[in-house]
């Protein structure tokens, strides 16, 4: 019955389908967007509903510098993956490292802000509704940055061992899609928490 396995040995037709990595990552991004949407909705819904202080206006300081860090890391990762696609391994490594440093700086900014709020302002996740929604939304984003940094770090290790080449460009681009997503989410979180929320 093996003849049946090839129903129609048709004409040699042009057959090209999208890269599965990118489609899969797009799916993950859609799913993650839905999770963030729920947290953002909760944040907005509970704005000003805390029964006790401190309020956002009292404790939040807009993290302009660290936001610039994170957003510009989107540019460096893009440049890095373009360099790799052209086969420039060293340039890729440089841009990739800059991306990691910028991402780590952003995380440091979040850590510093949290430390200040917890130890100086006395706002924890259980203090009031603002604390609950703030730490969970910003924390969810920071978790994603951390996950991204771990993945970027693994790529950097491979790259330092000279194991990342042109043939990996589609995978690297898939990873950079995730990083762009994390940055885009920060634009939303920033707007909601530091612009609308105050």
């Amino acid at each position: 019955m093996s003849a049946v396995t090839t129903p129609i040995s048709g004409s040699s037709l042009e057959w090209k389908l999208p890269y599965r990595g990118k489609v899969g990552m797009a799916g993950l991004i859609v799913a993650e967007s839905a999770i963030f949407t729920i947290f953002v909705v909760a944040y907005l819904f509970y704005l000003g509903k805390s029964l006790s202080g401190p309020t956002p206006r009292e404790v939040l300081e807009t993290p302009i510098f660290f936001t610039v860090c994170l957003l510009s890391s989107s540019l460096t990762i893009h440049l890095g993956s373009k360099e790799l696609a052209r086969g420039h391994r060293v340039m890729f490594r440089i841009f990739w490292s800059i991306t990691i440093v910028l991402g780590a700086l952003f995380l440091f900014g979040t850590a510093r802000e949290w430390h200040r709020m917890i130890y100086e302002r006395g706002l924890t996740i259980s203090t009031n509704l603002f604390g609950t929604t703030y730490y969970s939304l910003v924390g969810l984003h920071a978790t994603h940055v951390t996950a991204g940094l771990i993945m970027l770090g693994i790529v950097l290790l491979f790259s330092l061992a000279d194991r990342v080449g042109m043939e990996h460009a589609p995978r690297i681009e898939t990873l950079s899609m995730y990083w762009h997503f994390v940055d885009a989410v920060w634009v939303v979180v920033f707007t909601v928490v530091y612009v609308i929320g105050r």
Binding site: M1, S2, V4, T5, T6, P7, I8, S9, G10, L13, W15, L17, P18, Y19, R20, V23, G24, G27, L28, V30, A31, E32, A34, I35, T37, I38, F39, A42, F45, Y46, K49, S50, L51, I125, S126, N128, L129, T132, T133, S136, L140
Partner: protein, 557 residues
Amino acid sequence: MSSDAMAIPAAGTVARPWVEVLHEWVTTVDHKRLGILYIVYALIFLVVGGIEATIIRIQLIRAHNDFVSPQVFNRMFTMHGTTMIFFVAMPVLFGFANYLVPLMIGARDMAFPRLNAFSFWLTAFGGLLLYFSFLGGSGLYGAGNAPDVGWWAYAPLAAKAFSPGHSSDYWTIALLVSGFGSIGTAINLIATILCMRCPGMTLNRMPLLAWLNLVMSGMVLIAITPLSAAQIMLLIDRYLGGHFFDTQAGGSATIWMHFFWIFGHPEVYVLIIPCFAFMSEIIPVFSRKPIFGYPVMVGATVCIAFVSLSVWAHHMFTIGMNSYANSFFAITTMAVGVPTGIKIFNWLGTMWGGKIQFKTPMLFSIGFLFQFLIAGLTGIIMSAAPFDWQLSLSYFVVAHFHYVIVGGILFAVFAAFYYWYPKITGRMLSEKLGKLHFWLFLIGFHVTFDVMHIPGLLGMPRRIYTYEPRPSWETLNLIVTIGAFIQGVAILVFVTNLVLSYFKGAIAGNDPWDGWTLEWSVSSPPPAYNFASIPVVASRRPLWDLKHPEDPDSRYE
């Protein structure tokens, strides 16, 4: 059926150490084996959930019964609902999708085989975690063990103050973990369908099963994730002292309902769309006609997916939303009936004028059509907010959604079992036992769920562990319980059939139903690599083209 079939871990042909076989199954990344694992896993939980349902029904068989305590009763309906939705319906449908989608689109495996295995094991351990609560749920507090907060765990019932111990945590984490598994499978299905189709299989030529699973996967991405988010919030509330659903600190119990039902209602469509997919494959083959209105079918499915995302608050009419919200959700709920109706007409159009063969898969499909229609109609009845105010939280609602889930989803799943069992195992299910199963189950189903509408209309609330002796209520509940037992017997017949036919069934051959899609072109069971050479297709029914070279479908495209 030559050397191809030997590539499969052929059941019973070669004796190998069981540890080796077990190791192969545990570490497998083959989509067919994972599909079987999903299906077997779901069948086990179907029996468990069925036992829980039986306990509920025995308790309600007469007034003031004390078969189980009220506390156990609460655990039973919570576990029954959670099990049946998350650990029976989802896995069985994912199992069939896993098994069939690559075969039907001419691929050798899913896009991400390891992610596939990871997703399955997440789901599997999620279910184990839920049931481990019976042992570990009491924790340090000596409070109740298994979750008893209902399958939707409304706030503040699930708050630490009202649900001490760890039972609700097991519920939360089990759903969170299996939810991640579902997301993984959905991503995998989307990537497989979009990136792995064999040459010639344009989106327009894809079997409807692949199309509908694509839409279902898209819905999983945006419908399951709100539940995951809500579960994370609940965990924050319970473990870190957060206030999301804590009304004492300004939080809102209503927002839990919204988050839950933003998941909960699309979830119904996540479950029913793969069943539509089964119908769209089975009905044409047994009517000996191609599906009627293929593009309309796809369009209607996409339409259902969109509309169903904006109907969730019809579960919440009784909490007192304003009239605009009530009207909006009533209208969208009625609107979702339109594309669903289109589909029913498409299936009827397929059967119309066809040479219908009343084999067991077709019998279950016809049962599906009839019962799903009735279930849809009671749904439309309750979409009218004032009517819902009267009937919400009554047994009418229980009857309605069991009509959807048992009369619709389960009948379609049974049809799929009878249709694809020969492909999966290489042997036919017994027609005689199959027909017995069908008729017993049909009778049991109607005795239970037709009658169950009436106590609801008479005002019997759901989730009560007992009731005052009233002649009408007692008689009706007795009849409902008898029907449940008939269904139980039918399930036993089904399980017997599955087991007996596995060893003694007639050899199926590649194509027992004279089918038209690619899975029937390979041996039964298919070899590990599916296709020796990747097929090339030129129409929606590649096997028709092959069998009828004088009049291929491709001529009319």
